[in-house]
Symmetry: C2
């Protein structure tokens, strides 16, 4: 299975993907192989191959050399397939239960053959439907604690860490985040996308110099702080769940960045779902119950994360600094403050930037949606500007409640 | 001159360096070429080739695959020759007047052919002799302002910056700094080197948890903050001077790191020279005059640096953040605080770590030297622990006066 194909890049189709499977000996018998193209075709081709007799199935994911967003098409590096497969393999070293297993990669063809997770649903869909996942917080908190710690200078030999930094230098995908998350939403730039009813609220952001300086400082951290290997795009659409399992997928934005970034994106997207449920669930009791669950996810994720991070630090810290009493609290405290600001940028850009979230967009009551989005913008602005004064996860959550 | 030699590495000698010069056509005539090996042979071979008739001369510097320090020999990557020549060429793009010109490089042979600066002296020697260099502060301040700004995310396209980060990943040389500057001096580790008379003062450092946490935080910044391309070892032994010119040499420690690092090392080594002059100059008037000059160098360097940095930011800033009023002061303020801590680490490690400075070691009065070193350790500890509360360059200088 480790044979390199050494083919020039070309997109696979339902015929060639079976030829590939044969060449790689992914199945023992090809009489009953069914092929389904299950991707959305915007960024990647995703084929599911299943043996209809044995039930054995695999996923073949191939990056496309362009991205389609809102009808536009622009070139996008195939190198992201290399990044994604490296990231999945790195995660599998310490958290194999939370990533799809990678069976084969080919960087020339920009493809990854991996475990089929069809039994899972995208977390964002499940949350919009009001489903509770009892293990989600524990799984995400664990995954992030391990990802950050095991890829940091606190655990790795500095040579190994620098080699990983080099492997994960990811200019094109990082630039998408640099522009769409940290810059564009704070300026009158045409990637932004919002209805005219939001213009006043948006203009308020664009003229708020203090807010823009804080967002600029967060961008500077994103650009310069190579602290740990991040997923880079850990929203609720990058998480596959069942009632008992949680899988983190699509790490094509992976790179070495500031530790607070991933957990911020998870929390921001939970907060957006919380906000949307003011409309999605009309029964006040049921709504309050579900929104309580969501806030519980944030609190439990943070507590699992920080407890496990401290535990790893204590038991597996290698860097001399990990033996200094209390130094872990300094690192966690900086991470927490960064997290709040990053979460603020994410809720703002998901409301008025290029890429919106279904949670908010699916609200049928247009006026209600507009009012809610104004409150979300206020939430984001508060988080960004008041990050330093928010001292613990309960205070952070209080801001979500006020939406 | 751009022919690649493609030879396997072997150290040059006085014969082969002339063959190399012929192959590269460095001179037109070889009848009167004299060769002098002028390096100390510890880390590098340095040959000076001069045509005794025309006076034309060049330097051929070749890295050795080991380092000799205090009698020990350990392997050291030849890749540092690649780093050094890349750094010199990068600096020549924005400050050609402050680096030796590079004529030719060969990464296989780990060699660089460059401008001969034999008319210059090493700044450390000149300062020990009590010589004043009227342009030094302006030159160093200018060089650092340009180096930091032109290699940062504030000026470069993010793709270009990330490519430079990749070029300058420098694990082995960085590890020397990580160990010898940030860790070893704060622990009982056998690389340290100090007389038993200093044991009590050193033990005080080793049991000061707060100091060790602050040093650990500085090391964490050194490990994680890819803000700008640094020289990485900008002490007064890496600077060549005449009365009118200043050349920064030996950037083999170059890497992307925290902006305050280089200026800190320059200031720390000026401070060590200041301290040593309490003994080197016995005439109180002359001493006070020279020490005043040294403090003036620090103040003028900082002011030149910060003024020029602001000017570059205003005139040549590309990143959107450079248009936000006052954001440059946030960046400068963070840089200033980092600088103080880094300077503290440098004065401590130069006193009790592996690599000492001639300024202090050449003090003949042993008891006086011990007392002075105790005060230097106190200076370093104060800078590290009180960095946040030192608000401007005058307050920083006041600490030096108290030595």
């Amino acid at each position: 299975m480790a044979t390199t194909l050494k083919q020039a890049y070309q997109p696979l189709n339902e015929q060639t993907v079976v030829e590939l499977a044969k060449k790689l000996e992914l199945f023992t018998d090809y009489q009953h192989i069914e092929v389904h193209e299950i991707g959305d075709g915007n960024l990647n081709l995703v084929f599911r191959l299943i043996d209809s007799v044995t039930g054995k199935s695999i996923i073949v994911k191939q990056a496309l050399p362009y991205a389609k967003v809102v009808g536009e098409s622009w070139p996008l590096t195939l190198d992201r397939a290399r990044i994604e497969s490296h990231s999945l393999k790195k995660s599998a070293e310490f958290a194999p239960e939370h990533v799809p297993e990678v069976y084969y990669t080919d960087h020339h063809l920009a493809l990854t053959v991996m475990e089929d997770l069809s039994s899972h649903v995208i977390l964002r869909k499940g949350l919009i439907e009001g489903i509770q996942y009892p293990h989600l917080a524990h799984h995400i908190g664990t995954f992030i604690a391990k990802s950050l710690f095991y890829t940091s200078d606190l655990y790795l030999h500095p040579y190994e860490k620098k080699e990983l930094v080099q492997t994960f230098i990811n200019p094109e995908l990082c630039k998408i985040t640099e522009d769409l998350v940290f810059t564009d939403p704070f300026y009158d730039i045409d990637t932004n996308d919002f209805p005219s009813e939001l213009q006043d609220a948006v203009s308020e952001l664009w003229t708020d110099t203090e807010l823009k300086k804080r967002a600029a400082a967060l961008k500077y951290k994103f650009l310069t702080r190579a602290e740990a290997l991040l997923h880079g795009d850990l929203h609720t659409g990058s998480i596959f769940v069942t009632e008992t399992t949680t899988k983190i997928i699509d790490p094509e934005f992976a790179y070495y960045g500031p530790q607070g970034f991933d957990i911020a994106h998870f929390f921001a997207n939970i907060a957006l779902n919380y906000a949307a449920h003011s409309f999605h669930i009309s029964d006040p009791l049921k709504r309050s119950d579900y929104q309580g669950y969501l806030l519980g996810v944030i609190k439990d994720t943070w507590e699992t994360f920080s407890d496990q991070y401290r535990e790893l630090w204590k038991k597996e810290g290698v860097e001399a600094a990990t033996k200094l009493p209390g130094f872990e609290e300094e690192i966690l405290s900086g991470l927490f403050t960064d997290m709040i600001g990053f979460a603020g940028c994410e809720v703002i850009r998901r409301t008025i930037g290029l890429a919106h979230v279904e949670d908010l967009e699916s609200i049928g009551d247009f006026n209600g949606q507009i009012e809610l989005k104004k409150r979300v913008l206020k939430l984001g602005s508060d988080w960004i500007k008041k990050a330093e004064s928010i001292k613990n996860i309960d205070e952070f959550i209080t801001y979500i409640r006020s939406v």
